[in-house]
């Protein structure tokens, strides 16, 4: 049996006495676009920090493409592309220099990195900005650069933590369309964290996270059936409103 792109089993995490995640289990199927839906403070960023190994996993297990993050961290990280909620680009470097640095950190040589950089920047419609310093780009353009950079080392799973935060409606729609398009062309799996229900498509899988608990996990259709709601927004409100801890 093929392992899922991401599998979380009984994951818990606390900040002192405050529990941020409580016995969280879910899986993201290979090739799926999975939306991690939750309000601010639901535990999404904590989950991302655990998946990216920035936080130590103390309870439960996480596996990327079948590679356990504790036992095979390097193999797991090599298959992971990440876009964090806050910017992680070096503002003083050019777009191409940021790509080169990222490539080096993944052991990719300059020639290969240059070719891949050109392709990816063309895909995010920023081919003409390769030589510009990142600080001269707009917020939406920086986001597109970060998404393209996350794909540089050809990861099998792309995780994005609220990538549309701080962007206007037009830029948000562009980013969403861009990622969905890239996923189709690159053939990877996606975990997209957001608190905005209008970013969920009918074909997506959804994990509803609320106050550190997984409230629901499945396709949009199954969530609608489970809650008796007419749309995903209504379903989300019902899930986090009813019996929430």
């Amino acid at each position: 049996m093929t392992a899922p792109a991401l599998e979380a089993r009984n994951v818990s995490h606390s900040y002192g006495a405050r529990k941020a995640l409580d016995d969280v289990s879910f899986s993201v199927a290979r090739g799926a676009f999975c939306v991690l839906l939750g309000l601010n403070g639901a535990g999404k960023s904590t989950l991302f920090s655990l998946v990216t190994r920035l936080f130590a996993l103390r309870r439960g297990s996480l596996a990327v493409m079948g590679c356990d993050l504790q036992r095979e961290p390097r193999k797991a990280l090599a298959q992971l592309g990440v876009v964090f909620q806050s910017r992680t680009l070096d503002l003083d470097l050019t777009v191409a220099q940021n790509f080169y640095y990222h490539a080096a950190l993944h052991g990719i040589g300059k020639a290969q990195a240059n070719a891949r950089t050109q392709d990816l920047l063309a895909a995010v419609q920023l081919a003409d900005r390769a030589g510009d310093k990142v600080r001269n780009l707009s917020g939406g353009q920086m986001r597109r650069v970060e998404i393209a950079r996350a794909l540089l080392h050809r990861p099998r799973l792309l995780v994005l933590d609220e990538p549309t935060v701080g962007l206007d409606i037009g830029a948000r729609a562009d980013i969403l369309k861009l990622v969905r398009g890239l996923i189709a062309s690159e053939g990877m799996s996606v975990l997209w964290a957001t608190h905005l229900t209008d970013e969920v498509f009918e074909t997506d899988d959804v994990i509803v996270l609320h106050k550190g608990f997984v409230r629901a996990n499945g396709s949009v259709r199954s969530l609608l059936e489970q809650t008796g709601a007419t749309d995903i927004k209504d379903a989300f409100v019902r899930l986090i409103g009813e019996g929430a801890p």
Partner: protein, 271 residues
Amino acid sequence: MTLAAYAICLKGIVWREGLRFLHQRERFVSALVRPLVWLFIFAAGFRQVLGISIIPPYETYILYEVYITPGLLAMIQLFNGMQSSLSMVYDREMGNMRVLLLSPFPRWFLLFGKLIAGTLVSVLQCYAYLLIAWLWDIEPPPLGYLTVLPAFLLVGLMLGALGMLLSSLIKQLENFAGVMNFVIFPMFFASSALYPLWRVKEGSPWVYFICQINPFTHAVELIRFALYNQFNPLAFAVVFGCTLVFMLGALVAYDPSRGLMALRGAPGAAA
């Protein structure tokens, strides 16, 4: 990962640090101005006050500015190590540190790469200082410029590793002033950088004791001896040992499962 991939990664880390250094020209200038102020002004004022007797590695009486040159070289490396620490805290706050720590290479290798990069920058600064000092008639033996290189590398690694360890303790950039007051100044002044230890002993046996156990004293002496084509085994042993201890400390501190980062969260991560 192949050996070539490791080399690419190391080259990338060094390249980025070098680029950052080039972008911050004022950092290079200020790194030189600080010791040069000591050399041109402080030493000029104190040369009549502080007499230096013949002590190894010197074979004759020397001018005060000749005596403090190794101390000022170590000072350059001390400030550079702390500057690296500052830039790691900045990287953590800006999120760049996550890019580094997400690399599939072992974390010890990534941190070692950062250390190498910072050390090379400090070595460049030291040679720039030596050039200016030469114009000021401070002329160590020609071969000394070569024999001091390994000492620069080792001292740079030790102070860089100390800076890295400290960066894991500093939560915010604003707290960095504490490093100046509690690390840089005590380390520098309680050492043999500005005055020979026999002088200190005459003044206060306690301060003398503190100077003796201060790793920075041994860093200064390692450079001093190497600059005059001599090897100081005690200084080497202390600096080498401290380098290992500080590096191990930094590794543990940046280990997500064991270190200080684990205790209070990840670098720059949102809660």
